[in-house]
Each structure stands twice: as structure tokens, then as C-alpha cells.
Amino acid sequence: MGCNNLVIIGSSTGGPETVRRVLSRMPVLEACILIVQHMPRYVNESVRAEFAEETQMEVKLADDGMVLRHGLVIVARSDAHARLAANKVVQLVSGEKVNYVRPSVDVTMKSLRSIPRVNAIGVILTGMGADGAEGIRHMKGVGGVTISQDEASSVVYGMPKVAAATGCVDFILPPELIGSKITDLVKSWSNGVHLS
């Protein structure tokens, strides 16, 4: 059974707490959630654990070749970019930092293809810099739904600001409402109503 619904979340400074707030509002989803959190390598596991505390979904650190699956949360590892192959499989690729970061949200989001068809949501949360803006633009272009965090709730309103500035963001919301929005969207896709 393939993964039809995919959520890609990018976050940086102030991210972990924020992701937790997003996850807290979500039941086990019929979607695969891919989280790209900018963090030092040695806290990857801790952050994954924190996320795991917040949701009933399975939370794993990305491994090369990991298959996307509904009800699975994949956390990108530090020092590698997480690319999607055929919208199905995670590939960890080494390479230059993109936007000064590795993993870069742009790399992950831009690896999403329009074929094979998946329902996708792109989310940019708090952080410094501009990683994720081009990713959002790309995701919108291939028919995905895009969300960025609002200024009031952002620890650092950098990445969400740049993402919103692309004009390709569908919703600007605080973390709890982001969680609800993702939940609603995935539910509607599962019920057969495809929003594109």
C-alpha cells in the first residue's frame, strides 16, 4: 500500500517546541510526515524522542531507503539532505550545504514530483534564514497545499516570512491550527475529496 498523502515540515531555530505543538493536535494520520529540523547531529535522537512523546504515530530518524508510509513520522538526520525518490522512498544524500544548512528543506521539498501523484502539504515553521521558501514555491507548483507559521507565534519569524513572501502560501497559522489544518486536509483526502 503506497503513501498517497505526504506532509513535509521544515523548521529551524525554535523548531522542536513548535513541531511538538503541531503534532499535539494530530491523531494518527493517514499520511506520512517528513520533518526537516535544523539541529546539531548529537541532538537528533533527543529531538526525535521529543516528537515521539507528542504523537501516537511512529517517529523515526530517516535512513537511506526508508519507505514512506501512512502513520509514519520521519525526522531528517543532520549532515545529509533527505531527498524523495519517486515520491516513495527517502534518499540520504551528502553534498554541499544548501542555504547554509544540511539537511535543507528546499532539497526535500523540491524532490517532490508531480508524478506519481501524491497529495502533499508543505509547512514552514519558525527559523532564521530562507530555507524552505523555494521548496514551498515548488510544492505549490506541483499542486500541493502550503502553510507557513504566523509571525506572532514564531520564535524567529525568518523562514516563515520568506516563505510567505513567495506568495505561494495558502495558509498562515499558529502551530495548533496548523495541526488541525493538516488533520482536516488529510481526512478529506482519505474520504476521497482531493484538494488540489
Partner: protein, 133 residues
């Protein structure tokens, strides 16, 4: 080994306040009054949670962080910025992966304690993982 917290701030009262609060919760705190001193301590081998004030004379928090990154001194450290400023200045993309949080002054003590506690747990887990092999 207990994880220590380094507070880097040019304001003595703020250093004192942070120390008082964290020590009361059982954390070891290393107060440092400048970016240069911070680098020194890092070079001496400090590993732990660093609370870095942004507005400091001579070398501000960003410059200190960048310098530490450049020297590879932040490996094994968790850095959170402390500042009265609303928004960070520009040109901070380089530190995005390193700075996990941005704490605004004035902060509530329990917020600080819980946040610092989290970061300590992160580092401990990592240490334990290493120890475990």
C-alpha cells in the same frame, strides 16, 4: 557528569539571576561576561548548554557563535540566544543549524528552567548513547 550551563552575558545581574534560578533547580552554571571569555571556556573544553546574550560590547552573541562554529568548538553544545531584541539581525543563516532557540528577555524563570532542562536531557541522552556504544 552533570550537564553544565554557560551563561554569556555582560550584565552581572542577569548572570546572577540565571545562576540563582538554575542552581536552585540543581543545574551547574558557568557565568561568563563576554564572548571572548566564552570562546576561552569552549577551548578549555566546555560542553553543555550555552545561553548567549546577543547584545554585548566588543563581540556580540552572533559573532561569538560564528567564531565558535568556525573553530569547531560548538560540537556537543546546545546554544540558545538570549536577547531583549525583538528580531534577530540579518545574516544569521550560518548559525541556523546550531542555534536551537531564541529566548527573549525578560523571561519567566520556569520557562528558562524547563527549556534548559530539555537541552540538558538532549545532551545527556547523546552522552548516554555514546557511552552505550
Amino acid at each position: 557528569m552533570e550537564t553544565k550551563i554557560m551563561i554569556v552575558d555582560d550584565e552581572p545581574d542577569i548572570r546572577a539571576a540565571v545562576c540563582t534560578i538554575l542552581e536552585a533547580s540543581g543545574y551547574g552554571v558557568l557565568p561568563v561576561e563576554s564572548g571572548a571569555r566564552c570562546i576561552e571556556e569552549l577551548e578549555k573544553g566546555f560542553r553543555g548548554v550555552i545561553l548567549m546574550d546577543v547584545m554585548m560590547p566588543e563581540m556580540d552573541g552572533w559573532a561569538t557563535t560564528k567564531k565558535a562554529i568556525g573553530k569547531g568548538l560548538l560540537e556537543g553544545n546546545v546554544v540558545a540566544m538570549l536577547t531583549a531584541k525583538e528580531d534577530p539581525d540579518a545574516d544569521l543563516e550560518e548559525v541556523a543549524e546550531t542555534v536551537v532557540n531564541y529566548i527573549r528577555k525578560p523571561f519567566k524563570p520556569d520557562m528558562l528552567v524547563s527549556t534548559v532542562g530539555r537541552y540538558c536531557r538532549w545532551l545527556e541522552r547523546d552522552r548516554n548513547a555514546h557511552l552505550a556504544g
